[in-house]
């Protein structure tokens, strides 16, 4: 039994778990608003843009996470300005930025002939690749994004529910939206270190999707999303260590399994629940 938790003696596993937990809290914090505003594709967008940032970092010999952060923030600003100019075509704006990010990444990877271990770790996530520097950056970004989400909780909720009503009642919608986009960019850039670029948007959306199956209020939905995301990261990293699997894949597969369980629970519960509600009311 003790052998199962041997991994804790390795510094790299400690770092992986700590970074993983921060990411598990950050992803649903941002994800719940993205999903409810039907902007899930934005997670995908920042992931592709981050790839360009990582490629640029490797090409220029700079810390790739830093370039990914920079480029993602630029994309956030670009998206908000595109969104304001072409209100009807938000999805088109996202598609354009995805294309720009991915094509830039492909060109830069080709230029630096950088399809190496390093890039592989960014694409699929890596437990052993998380350095102390990465961990510090993840923690700092984590504090920033969580602080923002706590301070602007009521604004974020109102805008997600009804942007027009929020605006008409005097909420600074444009400011909050801009900050939210920046927070999303930051979250995805640091999360990709753990789950990998290809799967980061899954950790943003899947735990929230699972929570939506069973949540009975915004509050309970948010809490459940945290529970599902943390469980996914803990189980995923555990399995990944013992079975020698890619951590990103293990984490997201756990999240998907939890979603299936939650959806099944809903099916059973809502049938019984309705019966219960009828008897309860009469």
């Amino acid at each position: 039994m003790t052998g199962l938790f041997d991994f804790w003696q390795y510094a790299f596993m400690q770092r992986a778990y700590l970074a993983g937990l921060v990411v598990a809290v950050l992803c649903p914090t941002i994800g719940i608003y993205l999903v409810l505003r039907r902007l899930s594709l934005i997670g995908e967008m920042f992931a592709h843009v981050s790839l360009a940032g990582v490629a640029l970092g490797i090409f220029a010999g700079v810390y790739p996470l830093a370039t990914a952060l920079g480029i993602s923030l630029g994309a956030a600003a670009a998206l908000e300005s595109l969104r304001r100019t072409y209100r009807v075509f938000t999805d088109l704006a996202i598609a354009i930025i995805i294309s720009a990010g991915l094509s830039l990444a492909v060109v830069l990877i080709g230029l630096s002939r950088a399809f190496n271990i390093d890039l592989h770790a960014y694409l699929f996530g890596s437990v052993i690749a998380i350095s102390a520097r990465d961990l510090w950056l993840v923690a700092a970004v984590g504090l920033l994004v969580l602080g923002f989400a706590l301070l602007f909780r009521k604004e974020l909720f109102f805008i997600a529910f009804d942007e027009e009503a929020a605006r008409s009642s005097g909420v600074a919608v444009d400011l909050v939206n801009l900050l939210f986009m920046a927070a999303t960019a930051l979250t995805i850039s640091v999360s990709m270190r753990v789950v990998g670029i290809l799967l980061v948007s899954s950790l943003i959306t899947v735990p929230v999707a699972a929570a939506l199956q069973v949540g009975r209020s915004f509050r309970s939905t948010a809490l459940l999303a945290y529970v599902f995301a943390v469980l996914s990261v803990l189980c995923g990293l555990f399995v990944s260590y013992h079975a020698n699997l890619a951590p990103g894949g293990s984490i997201v597969l756990t999240a998907v399994a939890l979603f299936v369980l939650a959806a099944g629970y809903r099916k059973i519960f809502s049938r019984g629940g309705r019966l219960f509600a009828k008897g309860h009311l009469s």
Partner: protein
Amino acid sequence: MSHPVLELDKITFYYGDRLVLDQVSLSVCSGDFLGIVGPNGSGKSTLLKIIAGLLKPAAGSVRIFGAARENSRRQTRIGYVAQNVTSFNHAFPATVGETVIAGLTGSLGLLRRPGQREKRLVEETLAGVGLADLRDRLVGELSGGQQQRVFIARALVAEPALLLLDEPTIGVDVDAKEKFYGLLAALRREHDLTLLMVSHDLGVVARLAQSIACLNSKLYFHGPPAEFWTEDVLCQAYGAAVRILHHGDH
């Protein structure tokens, strides 16, 4: 009567090249109940959105409580309930209580969180619209009429002096409609509320409102319901629509 709550001066608005509002001037006094009527596409909703601050007019000015719209810090004294408010994402996981307390977001301002006073306000407002028992239910699971009252409560909780309602009874059954009009009358008695209601239902507006504004790009009439029927404004406003369409076809 008392001082004007709202003054519109020569409001003009275009959607692209199409002139939607043509120099509309209107003044509404405190405590008034103004019904805004007009044919489809006559700019009723647009006018309400301009008053709510969601759209900027191409020309003209909006003054609220004597202050210009742009620099009015009293924005939170306006409650606005949009036309399609019940066509929100019904899977959105918000309870009635969570939805109504969101209405205080603007008046609380950034960084301040709702406390005991705000929670009490929510309770009172919910009781006022007859939804006290439904506080913990998900809004998406309520009937259309109940949802309508949730969103009215969300607007009312911030204690607005001016309430803007855009076709509030669309998608609500007849029974709930009558209840809703009863609620409006009660709200006006209990609060010092000025009401602007856009509706396509001339009969209801004439029965309930103290004054009527008939709009079709231009303002054709503004006065008490009795005069609305005697003067031939209906024919003018609605007939003009036909003529404009006709010209547009050439």
